[in-house]
Amino acid sequence: MSALGEARPQPAPTGRSLGSIRRSFAPWADPAEVPLIEFARVSKRFGSFAAVSELDLAIYRREFHALLGPSGCGKSTLLRMLAGFEEPTSGEVRLDGQTLNGIPPHKRPVNMMFQSYALFPHMSVEKNVEFGLKQDGMARSERADRVAEMLKLVKLEPFRSRKPAQLSGGQQQRVALARSLAKRPKVLLLDEPLGALDKKLREETQFELMDLQQSLGLTFLIVTHDQEEAMTMADRISVMREGRIAQVGTPETVYEAPASRYVAEFVGGVNILSGTVAERRGDRVRLTVPGGIIEADVPVGSRLQTGSPAVFAVRPEKLRIARHAPADPGVNAFRGEVWDIAYLGDMTLFNARLPGGEILKAATVNAARASAEPLGYEEEVWLTFAPDAGVVLPE
């Protein structure tokens, strides 16, 4: 990453970490801010099948936005409508306030990095990177400078005259990145850009992409089905489901305050306890679930009423697991036995089986190198949590 830093057009402000710059970035919260990209009630049908349905989404300048969802939920289709490879069946796609509908891909000021890289096999690395600049009729010397700059940025200078077939997967990925960045597009579209890389290289590249996006001041729209990747890189995540957006928000919002059971289950591990609302008092509800009673906080505006079915979703790391019973075993406490143990190094995951057969997942951080009395299989344990540990969602 230090090498990437050297090639920055503008040096980052000294003494501030990338994170602190990112944390203060929230144009979506500012009503005066105009979005750079807007999808307005966009639908795309292939025959009778709706790949994208009536979708609204606004993405802001310099935002790193991730489209997250399972395979086939319409992420690529959404991206391809922005690039111009697919025309919306209805609705409008806008960039910088101008409609993109009907504009062919070669006239759109966005560039795409393809999942398969789609490098031109008959051209050298250099020619691949130069391709887009040539189309614009940029002067030869200027082109050469830009190509050199791009190759330096992705650390591919020694390979400039190689053909794509003579490069490793990681190097090809960098050529594709350099090629799509060379024209300084208003928006860079990335369709599962790291899917073909191994885990270690993928994690390195994630940080490099974030760094690049910051230093070049570009807007990135990335497609991924990997929630960790989305959470690592993105300012905001759109969680998609069957052609619609299930939730848009920062990684924290999507993880800690999922808007639906689907989002809670798709992003990270979660325990889902289904029950009925027994009582509601202000921002507190009492749920009866098989095996116990849950008291949980709900937002004031929540529409949950006494008697309505609801689920309680709580992340494994927010459950405490212990041998002894809590002071009040009647509320937010479940007794079970250790069913499975997964030691992951940094943390340990426990599956506890409740008397009714349900499994609750709990995670503990291994802060010390060894525990005096580690929990063993089939031991009786108590799982407890605070009223604000999870969220209550409509069934």
Partner: protein
């Protein structure tokens, strides 16, 4: 993030097959590979090299009246006096070829005819192949069958059919007269034009198929990438599609050019007195003049000239394989 613990049991049980199988299998596959690689060579040896050596041998002998009509060289019975025999070889037939301008003229004329028909075939076949490659996937098998359907009829019958089409009072002239495009029938049959039409028609599938193959396996994403980077469709064709199809174009050109040079039936049936083709000269030499040694010399020269382009094809194949994928 499921907490299922990996079961350690069962892992050691799933060992691969016992070790001795390994080396044996490698030996097996090596001999199998030798067989597979060897078969085409045996084929070439029996059906190409042996006949070629026979022709070469005849080309080095002298004309004789008799059956066969040449003096034998290297009779097998006298294999012992090999060195002596070597001195008796006659290169007369090759020298004769340079004496009579007929041979050089018909060779040049053949090369010109073959080149022109190759270019024409390319111009017709490329859009054809592009159309095939861009056709909806479920239609492609049927379109391919249609492309090679003419091969199911005898080649001779198809060339005869062209005689019917190209005659003065033939189908083509009737059509053009009826459309009012001409008011005199065009004389096409028995001209070099008819020969070109015949060759382009007959060899078109040999041009279409390799070009189609190279177009069909191109990643459509490449054109999307070109468009994405600002290249309009027509320009993207010349920047991406065409250069990537060059191995197919080259293969098609050679598949048309090489047999077209030696073509005999088409010039004989569709050509006229002006038509001079080496294949026809060869035929005349063998069957009209019954001069087998000279005819064989013509055949050997032709072959040597055509080996050049073939080696070119081989090289192009090799470099395409290394560079393309």
């Amino acid at each position: 993030m499921s907490a299922d613990v990996a079961e350690p049991a069962g892992a050691p049980a799933a060992r691969p097959a016992p070790e001795p199988a390994g080396p044996e299998r490698i030996a097996d596959s090596a001999s199998f590979r030798r067989l597979v690689v060897g078969l085409p060579f045996v084929w070439l040896l029996l059906l190409f090299l042996v006949p070629f050596l026979l022709v070469l041998k005849i080309s080095l002998s002298t004309l004789a009246l008799g059956q066969p009509p040449y003096e034998p060289v290297f009779p097998l019975a006298e294999i012992a006096s090999f060195g002596e025999r070597l001195r008796e070889l006659s290169f007369e037939n090759y020298l004769f070829l340079t004496d009579d301008p007929l041979y050089l003229d018909s060779l040049i004329s053949s090369l010109v005819t073959a080149s022109v028909s190759t270019v024409l075939a390319l111009l017709v076949a490329y859009p054809f192949a592009l159309g095939l490659a861009r056709a909806p996937e479920r239609l492609r098998p049927m379109l391919l069958v249609l492309t090679i359907l003419p091969f199911w009829t005898s080649f001779l019958i198809r060339v005869y059919a062209w005689m019917g089409i190209l005659r003065n009072e033939g189908f083509l002239n009737q059509l053009l007269l009826w459309l009012g495009l001409i008011d005199q029938p065009l004389v096409i049959l028995n001209t070099n034009t008819a020969v070109l039409i015949g060759i382009v028609y007959s060899y078109l599938p040999f041009m279409v198929l390799p070009i189609y193959a190279s177009l069909e396996r191109q990643d459509p994403r490449l054109l999307e990438a070109a468009a994405d980077l600002g290249s309009p469709p027509a320009r993207a064709f010349w920047q991406v599609t065409f250069p990537l199809s060059l191995p197919g174009v080259l293969a098609g050109c050679l598949l048309v050019f090489i047999p077209a040079v030696g073509e005999f039936v088409i010039p004989d049936l569709l050509g006229g007195s002006e038509t001079l083709m080496i294949g026809k000269t060869l035929w005349n030499e063998f069957f009209i003049n019954r001069d087998w040694p000279v005819a064989s010399a013509v055949a050997v020269v032709l072959l040597v000239l055509l080996v050049g382009p073939l080696l070119l094809l081989q090289r192009a194949r090799g470099s395409a394989g290394a560079g393309a994928l």
